[in-house]
């Protein structure tokens, strides 16, 4: 991966000035490159990584395995895109193995999610079955450990 993309994917809030220092470049050049990456769609957005235990978020997250019937001409794409467009759907992936789509859905309550599945998801023509799992606890989010071991202290000065 591009060094700039790597830096941004870990710390999207790093200032242009600091990025330039790390990349041995200038703030103006870095800014221009970021604009290019945004314009060509390489960078789709910037998000904070939250710890649901800390933010006391009441949101419920479910992971749904969906089996669908592929269509002639379009395969899985048309149905997958249709599902992905729902605001409730946080992520949607085509999978190999025992089911076809992995859909991550966020909702205010178990009820809201089951309603979404029963009324929206399952009723779409071509959906064969769903299996829903609810998240109980988060240990790691996007490469960030949410439960940190106490850090061992290094000696303050070492040869």
């Amino acid at each position: 991966m591009d060094a700039l993309l790597e830096l941004l994917s870990h710390h999207a809030r790093t200032s242009l000035e600091d990025l330039a220092r790390e990349l041995n470049s200038t703030p103006a050049a870095v800014e221009q490159r970021i604009q290019e990456l945004e314009a060509d769609g390489s960078i789709r957005g910037y998000q904070a990584i939250l710890d649901p235990q800390k933010t006391q978020s009441d949101l419920v997250t479910s992971i749904i395995e969906v089996k669908i019937a592929p269509e002639r001409g379009g395969g899985f794409d048309r149905l997958a895109q249709r599902i992905a467009k729902f605001d409730q759907v946080e992520s949607c992936y085509l999978m190999s193995g025992g089911y076809d789509l992995l859909v991550i859905v966020e909702g205010a309550s178990l009820q809201e999610i089951s309603q979404f599945i029963a009324e929206k998801l399952s009723t779409i023509k071509g959906i064969l079955s769903t299996a829903t799992h609810f998240r109980l606890k988060s240990y790691k989010e996007k490469g960030t450990l949410l439960i940190q071991d106490p850090r061992a202290n290094r000696l303050p000065v070492a040869p």
Partner: protein, 399 residues
Amino acid sequence: MSQQEKIARHVAGIGRSGIRDFFEIVQSMEDVISLGIGEPDFDTPWHIREAAIYSLEQGRTGYSSNLGTPELRQAIADYVAKHYGVSYEGRTEVLVTVGVSEAIDLALRALLNPGDEVLYHEPCYVSYNPSVALAHGVPVSIPTHSEDEFRLTATELAKKITPKSKVLMLNFPCNPTGATQTEEELRQLAALCVEHDLVVITDEIYSELVYSGSRHVSIAALPGMRERTIFLHGFSKAFAMTGFRIGYACAPVELIEAMMKIHQYGILCAPVTAQDAALEALQNGARDVRHMRREYEMRRNFIVRSLNEMGLECFRPQGAFYVFPDIRSTGLASPEFSLRLLRAKNVAVVPGTAFGPSGAGFIRCSYATGLPEIKEAMGRLAEFVVETAGARQRERVSA
């Protein structure tokens, strides 16, 4: 006999490490940002720690062969052949040690007769001079200079060679300067070593950490050098495994055999848990090394530019995780600079003089510390430089 008189003369003659005094002051203070640490800030990658746990679970808690576990020695031989282009026989030409520090001690004790001279470039790692003295050798330092980016030139080496010279110690990439040598420069050194029949102890502990796409070359790989070189390396820096204490030596069988004799009676073998972890590092750690190298490189870029902007000149080192800026423009000597900076701004750097007299006028800043801390430290250092200049100005005016 007083307590002092009980101490052997060659031990009594060794000075306290300059780093140790400084360490004690730093330790007595709170909220210090330390750029004085010569070990990675990364935790050992989890799969390596997990391999150590697994090893314990399997009950691998006995001794290994004095030389090290056969699996690890073979993996080391393969790794050295692949990355450094030198072939060693895993069974007989590799010795696993307790860190490179032990390997240096073994090599010197195996090679030196009392009075033999050992050449080494300076500023250098703190143990070189005392280790030579402890092995009854005579340390002969060769000062290197900021104008040469602290490289060791053949001209400077030639000036110090005498009929008593037996060993040349090399450490590139270098702690504390970050200096590296090109292949051509190494060839010139190698030619002198062959001409004067010197044995080379090459400490390549930082050799995975070279930047800007530059390629590390080991002197052991140059023609005529394998038979006169003890190649030392370990896991501490590249794999962030300092506390595991695993290093190794690769050399012709007679030299390894001699080193093994000392190791066998002094240490017996390196800890097996740590050896098993080291094997995992060689087998599956390449990705971790790439990741850490990339991170170090960006920190280096950051710190080099910041230092130069505040008027503390330093070249862009191509290796290790140290920069060695020139602080003479502040009018302060290295220890004074470090102490005042620590007291005024709670930032710890190591005075260049801790690495030998030729480090005078310089400080060592380690970038094995997270970027947020580095940023904060650079801000405080810049303030310190400005305030020091202001104070000098006032002194001059009032004088």
